[in-house]
């Protein structure tokens, strides 16, 4: 099970990278950078099914499987910060078995210090996004 202390290597690196940064503006810029790394879901495919509720921004995710059956996440948001968080989530989950995603802990966001950098409504949006992803992974397993 992936949780604090046993994150995928790539995610652990990102966590360390964020933990090393104190300046909140710098952290935001880093998130903006990550925002570019997501497999972006084109706006033409945004729909009710992909929508993450409870965000102030429009946020959409499309959880899917690579050819080898491993997990892959597409996503996009009109807010870069949100898309950055999504991107880190996508990196964290990339290539895992859906069954592993289904029990992945969401604690990495707070470990990165993002949850208190984030506002409650944003944190709420993150939780909804993560729940949507995990649920999709569970359904892939079924």
């Amino acid at each position: 099970m992936y949780e604090a202390g046993s994150w995928p290597i790539r995610l652990q690196q990102i966590i360390d990278e964020f933990s090393g940064v104190d300046d909140s503006m710098e952290r935001i810029e880093m998130l903006f950078e990550y925002a570019r790394e997501i497999d972006e879901l084109p706006m033409s495919e945004w729909c009710d099914d992909t929508k993450v509720h409870g965000c102030q921004s429009e946020a959409h995710v499309l959880p899917m499987q690579n050819d080898d059956g491993t997990f892959h996440l597409m996503g996009a948001s009109d807010a870069k910060l949100v898309q950055g968080l999504m991107a880190i989530t996508a990196i964290a989950l990339e290539g895992l078995a859906p069954s592993e995603v289904a029990i992945f802990s969401s604690d990495y966001a707070s470990e990165m210090g993002l949850m208190n950098a984030l506002t409650p409504s944003r944190a709420n949006g993150f939780r909804n996004m993560f729940r949507k992803v995990v649920q999709a992974a569970q359904e892939m397993g079924e």
Binding site: Q56, N116, L118, T119, P120, S121, R122
Partner: protein, 407 residues
């Protein structure tokens, strides 16, 4: 920490008050409202001095901190009373909590012909909201009698009243008699008849953590100001089944999901019932009151206050012409109502006030109960953790002296 009243007193600035008549304050009106420790006062000041912001909706640091503090207080209070924080709805106090029950639950679950069972011991707060609903809807209210001799509810009539009952409203602990009602039995009987139960726990909450989930009560109403918390806040705590049956009551910001011109959709969870800017500083102050009380074992606090009530009741009973109510059994409240047959309650209260002693006088918002006792007014002393035996004795000596001089 071992409980001592002296230690509790040290935290409460007002207890050092010298009144305009030169007397030291002896505050024995705790059933009306309690005094506040410095910790509660500072929690409120601190909030305004460092964190104040509107909550829930904004993207800035203060808003995040204020939301955490506010929702953190909710969690703490809910945990104290043994219920999930998803089931504690903040209100302005017990009164608004019972009205919330009547509007959000009652008006959506009771129809003409339905029966609400109340007791003659109820505070007006648990009478008037149901009368208003009854009038609107032709609902029948059945009254469980108070047995004056034993200061207890007639549980046989209670059981017999359950036929067809949809809701039972019962005062957990009487603010006049101090009597703790057999709420376990009330809940059991009501549930086996398929009725929901709302407990008015305004007087119980300061002395008892209530264990709401375990108790099986469907709705429980409390006020912060009666347990060393601030004015302006209280709660209705509701179990999951009853919560699911409630519909929005106060409409506005924060309780909605989406607002269109022709309709709106509502939030899930407690925010559905909390429209508008919440009682933020108040919730935080209440949380601090819980922290302060939690230093000690609540059972020790209760037994201290009850001990003072027993001592006082016994002392008053020795005075000729004095009628004293309640028998102060183990779970009862620390409240002693009394009336002298030659000294009018108002004269008594004024003369006690002239000695610095604050007691309550009147109908205690329980006119049906007073009427049953054949009275329009009693005097009432009520104790809490910071009261001392010396205060109880000073009170008794003063009453003895006044009775001797003026009758």
């Amino acid at each position: 920490m071992t409980f001592t009243p002296e230690q509790a007193r040290r935290d409460i600035p007002i207890l050092n008050r010298v009144l305009p008549n030169g007397r030291n304050l002896v505050y024995l009106d705790n059933a009306a409202t309690t005094q506040k420790p410095q910790q509660v006062i500072s929690a409120i000041s601190n909030y305004y001095e460092t964190t104040n912001s509107n909550v829930h909706r904004a993207v800035h640091t203060l808003a995040g901190e204020a939301t955490d503090a506010y929702e953190g207080a909710r969690s703490k209070i809910a945990e104290w009373f043994g219920i999930g924080d998803g089931y504690l709805i903040f209100t302005a106090g017990t009164t608004e909590a019972i009205n919330l029950a009547a509007y959000a639950w009652g008006r959506h679950n009771l129809v003409a012909g339905d029966v609400v069972v109340l007791t003659e011991m109820e505070h007006h707060s648990d009478i008037v909201p149901w009368q208003m609903l009854a009038q609107e809807r032709e609902i029948e209210i059945r009254w469980v009698p108070l047995q004056v001799e034993t200061s207890s509810l007639d549980m046989e009539v209670f059981a017999a009243s359950m036929e067809g009952a949809k809701l039972v409203g019962c005062i957990h602990t009487s603010n006049v008699l101090g009597v703790r009602n057999p709420v376990e039995e009330v809940i059991r009987l009501a549930h086996s008849a398929g009725a929901r139960v709302i407990l008015d726990a305004a007087q119980a909450a300061p002395h008892d953590r209530l264990n709401i989930a375990e108790s099986g009560a469907d709705m429980v109403a409390v006020s912060a100001h009666k347990m060393c918390g601030p004015t302006g806040i209280g709660a209705l705590m509701v179990n999951a089944e009853t919560f699911a049956e409630m519909q929005p009551f106060i409409g506005g910001g924060d309780m909605i999901r989406e607002v269109f011109l022709d309709h709106s959709t509502y939030q899930e969870g407690v925010h559905r019932f909390e429209a508008g800017t919440p009682k933020i500083a108040e919730a935080i102050g209440w949380g601090a009151a819980i922290d302060w009380l939690a230093q000690w074992d609540i059972a020790e606090i209760h037994s201290h206050a009850l001990g003072l009530a027993r001592h006082t009741a016994a002392g008053l009973r020795e005075i000729e012409g004095m009628r004293v109510f309640g028998d102060h059994g183990d779970g009862d409240g620390a409240v002693v109502s009394f009336i002298h047959d030659k000294l009018h309650s108002e004269d008594m209260a004024h003369m006690l006030d002239a000695h610095g002693i604050a007691v309550r006088t009147g109908h205690h918002c329980a006119q049906p109960l007073l009427r049953k006792l054949g009275l329009t007014s009693t005097n009432r002393v009520s104790f809490y953790l910071y009261n001392t035996m010396a205060e109880a004795d000073f009170f008794l000596a003063t009453v003895r002296d006044l009775v001797a001089r003026f009758t």
